[in-house]
Symmetry: D2
Subunit: 360 residues, 4 copies
């Protein structure tokens, strides 16, 4: 569909369906000489993996990655990095129902409308398994950013349904995030979120939420006006993830109710550079990073798969009822953090290279 | 900066600074045989033009467009369409202050950080004049969409500061939008918005708001998973506009508080096609249009230029105070509608062509 | 290296090194509903495979392809088609010599100069094994062209060293080409070419040659002026193959000695369309196909690997002598035909889609 | 037609038809801080300009360039550089004949076949006036290369019809090239070429030829395998020029008759770097520059416009006869040198930036 490649210089192409032989990616354009191990890619994939805790789907998928090219003697060579994860949990089951109807708010109908043909076994290409390629590629991007400038990316669950945590984006660490299974660094809120997800699962329902990401130690100057502003590229990257409904940076939608006299971020001298006292800009001004922390949020709708009976239509357009079976996530947020971070890393790595290209 | 081109097949490249000889665009890839007149391009530009009403900046700029290529005997020829608007209101004035300091929450600092050089006369490339190229290109895209499938795009001001209008996106027309100077089709809310903008101007302050856009008569099947989903491309397009802080489609951020059992859009037979009873999806499922109305919203922060004294730093990093002079928009929303519509049209035209390329 | 993707709409990304786990490609953008089998991809790969005859390298490589995604129930689904060939003939041998010197007219030095790191086991990424991904992708492109318009592509060896065959490009078939191991449809010339290659091998030397390709049943209208003219895209595609030194279309370099009055191709009514009596244009005028047969030629230099002692330098810049070992092609032409055809197919498939995008 | 943009990072988009208001280009991605004047762009355009000598067309076109954006206080700002040349010699004349027939070996028929509509006044988009945008952009690229690494590009006419000059590509200067009106640095051959062009004009006929280009002071490491090898990108760039029929690098087509033992370029220590004793590779190995002089050649067919009566068909497919009128080049070579150099400069500037992006 020619839409499976992302990035200008640091580019990832993903491939694979949920119930085919495997899923994977090709990372093209990674600079040479970057240390990279299978283990560090696997560590990121393990955060996306199903079955990792009692609040995620209980499907067992090992998701073991193999690096197939582009790494030699422990470092990247500048050639394409092919990575693959074999699909293992392809139960032989009866897909005839999914073949013949459109699940509400899934991509079944639109894939059929677009392509006239559809891999009806599970979500096919629209499955969250596709994100495996993104997360693997993001691990490479993250390593590049660490090597070249020390940019540090931390994502976490900020909100589940109407439960919002309180998180200090200037200080939160990955350890804080990994301290509980919902990946919300506010321990009290996390407990409530876990309980809410448990409740939703019991009632066969699903919940949405918000992931927030901070990137610290940012260089000023990343972003290419006017169409490839950092804001625009981040929005593109994140709104390409399944189930996303909204994106905001810095003050986001709350800026709408503020006045310019409050919202403008005053410049001040700061540790030998130009900084700001507030950060309503979320680290981006005029589409270019200003050296302050980059802060953004992504809204995820409640998972489309629920265990309740729903009205829908068959592929021939007849009204039918449908009730999902099997093992599903009542809330995708805890497993989405890894993918959100990966997309941010991919954008920043690409723009780091685009800026370097000026040779300044 | 290699970021001034947007689109895969229907592509626009914009050029120009606020105080240079002019601004313009090249539209490359427009199909041949589309009727196009200078008048219809001009009509769109007039909606973005400064000085159009008492609540916009009072700068007088005629913004007269010239089509320089790609149109012959009233129709597009398939070759690049060059369009230019000469800058006329380039007052010879003293820019020395702007040269020597960074205006808060403008792009002055980040352009310097990125490029090491900056056209300090007005906003340069970061000026909203750049959007002239976008609006002109959008007029071509809009015409293509009208010719090929009848897609109709209507944008309007939904909210200014904390004043939110009530608008029926299924029925609102451009006439409704143009009925008042703030471009909010809710007449009562519009009056309040105008008063609020007047107040803000008098106090030397500025306001933000939300523009909502609906695209009706949409074909199902537009959008290219996984990275060029319609959601992702629209987010990219709209978050590339100046002063945007957030983007959402359909239920957007409000989906976060809903449950799947409520949020899923049931499919039903509808006028001979597959439709949905609700439209929380905003017309996009799995990143592909489903034939329902496309509905999205963009959050604009309050304008950075205010007439109050502000703290900032000089280009050499010394603390200084700054107070803007001249004629500025206390609220960019009324003039932003044309640009928001243009970006939506550009994305849909591009994806109309990408879908046609499959030859189905 | 961000240069491993080719095509605008029908796009291929290749990955893999000669001595890594495998090589492969991702074909993104292939229209849905195209019948595709592993067998037809394998058939093309078998024409590129080493060890297929006594005049090619005697390395034994099965080159068995696996389709990993994008094909379901025998047809393409519109999603990325991942294909892989595992490397099997990775003899554990001593690469220390290749690690420490630069083989003349290979890519050893330039990869080191560019990347500062190099996979010195065999040719790495510069190996002709990389073309496996191209040939596999070309098989898909070829099938698309056959399904959509019946375009037929036939490539063959026209010349080896100073031995040139006589071939009627209007009538030559793949059967003619496959009738002998050198893939020259002129049987008499073919015998001489085979003898010349045998001689070269015996003397430890190597030969170059010319591959000619014809595409018949061409639609008029393919090619996107001014930079993506069909001529330009074909030149790009073919000059990206290893060991190519020249490209020409139609009359090519011989046009230089002709006069316009002879060289111009007169238009005539022809089978209900506009045709030409001569075809010095090689089927392309103004960069766009005119419906006549597309004819082009690619010059390959003599293989860089020879079995004679050569002067070169070590990686530290010291003069050393070098003599290649192992099993190599004394002439790459017979195995290059498949790759040349594949690149032509990729360009035509991409431009078929680009033309379809106009929706005319 | 979405084919009017060239380059990945240093990108040019050209626009304009021969008989519209003007022609021009946008250069996007040029690094900031590069000194650039209108005069140096004009100097390149003057070498392409009609009427510059008795052997070119006698049309009088001033071709005065205006820089419209992207340059401030004498240096590039990193924003898009818009440049325009107004068309002045648009004689009001009778185009009815050209409207109703297809000139042999011109793009009239193929543009109609592709687009179904055609600007029949002169060559429209297929006119050599389009190259004005290329030459202007090339002037910027040339300046970037000079500033950043001192790369020096010299192009010249090597052959006209069967008359071939003898030129030392290691030492030839622009002064040598500009010493005569045919731009062949071999003074004796130049005289003969001029006489041949005079003869062709008198007989209403036309001639082709070869332009050779050398780039000296090349860095090693430019080129992005596998599809964006320097060879491939140069071939693309040059074969996108009107009237080109062939391209070769280094030994080119003559390599076909050589043996590997002769053709391989031995490496030697050379002025503190790794060099080669011969340069059959033309400065490119494995698609990457090796630091030796880059040498390439482009074959131009004889100009399609001749003053003799020719057979052709009308737009409705009827046989008609046609004889061109007006002022035309009997040989495009002398005016093509500037465009060929420009395309080489564009490719090298883009690849200079792509290499810089790795941050090595």
């Amino acid at each position: 569909m020619a839409g499976s490649t992302f990035g200008t210089l640091f580019r990832v192409t993903t491939w694979g369906e949920s119930h085919g032989p495997g899923v994977g990616c090709v990372v093209d354009g990674c600079p040479p000489g970057i240390p990279l191990s299978t283990e560090e890619v696997q560590a990121e994939l393990d955060r996306r993996r199903p079955g990792q805790s009692r609040i995620t789907t209980q499907r067992k998928e090992g998701d073991e990655v193999e690096i197939q090219s582009g790494v030699f003697e422990g470092v990247t060579t500048g050639t394409p990095i092919g990575m693959v994860v074999r699909n293992t949990d392809q139960r032989s089951k009866d897909y005839s129902e999914m073949k013949e109807l459109y699940r509400p708010s899934h991509a079944d109908f639109t894939y059929d409308a677009k392509f006239g043909v559809r891999d009806y076994r599970g979500g096919g290409r629209a499955s969250y398994r596709e994100a495996i390629g993104r997360v693997a590629a993001g691990a490479v991007a993250r390593r590049l950013l660490a090597e070249r400038g020390g940019v540090e990316i931390v994502g976490y669950v900020l909100q589940v349904c109407d439960l919002r945590g309180t998180v200090d984006s200037d200080r939160v660490t990955r350890e804080d995030v990994e301290a509980n299974i919902v990946r919300c660094p506010d321990a009290v809120a996390a407990e409530r979120m876990i309980a809410a997800i448990d409740d939703a699962r019991k009632s066969g329902d699903s919940l949405g939420g918000i992931v927030e990401v901070v990137a610290r130690n940012m260089p000023a100057g990343l972003g290419e006006p006017v169409f490839d502003k950092l804001t625009a590229e981040l929005a593109h990257a994140l709104m390409s993830l399944p189930a996303t409904r909204g994106f905001e940076v810095g003050s986001g939608f709350s800026s709408v109710g503020m006045r310019g006299s409050t919202h403008n971020d005053p410049f001040v001298p700061k540790e030998g550079r130009v900084g700001t006292t507030t950060n309503f800009s979320g680290g981006i001004q005029g589409g270019i990073s200003n050296g302050e922390n980059l802060v953004l949020r992504v809204a995820f709708k409640p998972t489309a798969t629920i265990m309740q009976e729903q009205q829908t239509v068959s592929t021939s357009g007849e009204p039918v009822t449908f009730r999902a079976k099997g093992r599903h996530d009542p809330c995708v947020l805890p497993r989405a953090v890894a993918a959100v971070e990966a997309m941010v890393a991919l954008v920043l790595a690409d723009h780091w290279m685009r800026q370097a290209a000026y040779g300044r």
